[in-house]
Amino acid sequence: MTAATATLAERIRRDFPALDQTVHGRPLVYLDNAATAQKPRAVLDAITGYYAGDCANIHRGIHTLSERATEAYEGARGKAQRFLKAPEAREIIFVRGTTEGINLVAHSFVRPRLKPGDEILITAMEHHSNIVPWQIIAGETGASLRVAPIDDHGELILDRFERMIGPRTKFVSVTQVSNALGTVNPVADMVAMAHARGVPVLVDGAQAAPHRKVDVQALGCDFYAFSGHKVYGPTGVGVLYGKAGLLDAMPPYQGGGDMIRSVTFEKTEFNGLPYKFEAGTPDIAGVIGLGAALDYVGKIGLDNIAAHEGELLRYATDEVLKVPGVRIIGTAPKKEGVLSFVVDGVHPHDVGTILDREGIAVRAGHHCAQPVMARFGIPATARASFAAYNTFEEVDALVRGIRKVKEILG
């Protein structure tokens, strides 16, 4: 617990209006960041600024407000490009979130290539949003979904994964960080394994983008998706990165305005990238807010965030394990941001309620990862997840809360 990192959290906390409140008479301890992160004032201001000053539709007006809105919107695309280190801005597609990004790739890229007997490979630690879209298209085409196993620590069994990439594998879709376990996957190696067999890869970055520097070129992945709301940005907006060559060859996902070059009733000529995939009026305010969030993260520095959160997670792990009868689910050597745990003899739902009365927000449930829960033979866990603004004192409050749970129900 160095003074420098403690001051980072303390300094930036003031930027987040929602953190400054009491819940049931206690100061809010917000530890549900993997579900969604709180928003700094810079993001709120950017959204209000658009609505209050530049509110106009984009790409279609020659008037000043429309120009300003378009500039801000396209400016955010540039910020997302730099955030992911994508080669080109047109490789950045604004979507509703990770879920929509994955669905877009499933329907426009993967589905047309599937034949009966083909396989899509995922891992046993995926969020439902990286399972269900593949099940849907597999069901429609006669392809099947294969699942690379994890071990008792929640770590991917990498050689099993590699061996499961076979001649029938048409696509690989894997999470970079598990939202239920915190496991960090070696995605660069996994991409290399898939590419060695000519199989394209999508990386689900929903839980990675808020915590570490992402470089899609270094990862080598073909697609990368993340959600704005987990990176201190607004809800309802996210990013899909795709390699230009692949995106260019893909049919549009949805039809509508903005994604066309010309329309007659006989024929439509589609617009180029990225507009081909952004049909209709997008969440302009959301995209501008996301741009502000990425600026904000850039200003704090992802390396600083990663260092601080790493110390928090280590500290929390040590302290929580000092409470007898507490078991951590997800003990992979490389973890990020997430502490999933169960208290002997106490259902996570009760843990959640008692902590909430102490002002502590955690998530209790299956975290949209029911197969992970099944793998560990539990119905649910309580999950504390960290952000840059969390302090060591908040971890202490969590541990006191868990002791209280034991006092009441232990």
Binding site: P348, H349, R357, E358, A364, P379, A380, I408
Partner: protein
């Protein structure tokens, strides 16, 4: 503020959640039903044996939080010997209690079930307390009046 949460987790509730009564499969049940709360993963299977219009015996099995487990356990105790109409009236009173609508004077005496009054301060937990009651209704609906042997086939 601490008192709040202890009002929810009354001693009787904690006791029933730790040592649930009638937590087993009921041999020769006339009906069973399964209840599931997808939000938190609570699951309960309720078994009922009827004698004419009366609940002769019940039991449950399940996996859930303290509130849903205690609610199931207490339900199996309280409902034994009650008629369908009495069970329905109890459910209405219980529902009013846990949603904070206050017990109606006309309703039946809730007795031990009053221990769930604290739930009304925890709106997200109402479903935990009522899950087994909805399951009971589903089970009873599966048995025609009067019960016939064929309905035992519904037990699973």
């Amino acid at each position: 503020m601490t008192s709040d949460v202890k009002e929810l987790y009354q001693q009787l509730i904690v006791d029933h959640s730790k040592s649930p009564r009638n937590c087993r499969v009921l041999e020769g049940a006339d009906a069973s039903a399964e209840g599931h709360n997808p939000l938190c993963g609570d699951r309960v299977t309720l078994f009922v044996k009827l004698e004419g219009d009366r609940v002769k015996d019940l039991s449950f099995q399940g996996n859930g939080c303290a509130i849903s487990t205690a609610s199931a356990s207490l339900l199996t105790e309280v409902l034994k010997g009650k008629t369908r109409a009495e069970a329905e009236a109890l459910f209405t009173s219980f529902h009013d209690l846990v949603t904070g609508h206050g017990a109606k004077d006309s309703g039946p005496e809730l007795g031990k079930l009053k221990v769930f009054a604290g739930v009304s301060e925890f709106p997200v937990r109402v479903k935990c307390a009522t899950l087994v009651w909805h399951t009971l209704r589903a089970a009873l609906a599966r048995v025609q009046q009067p019960a016939t042997d064929a309905d035992a086939a519904h037990a699973r």
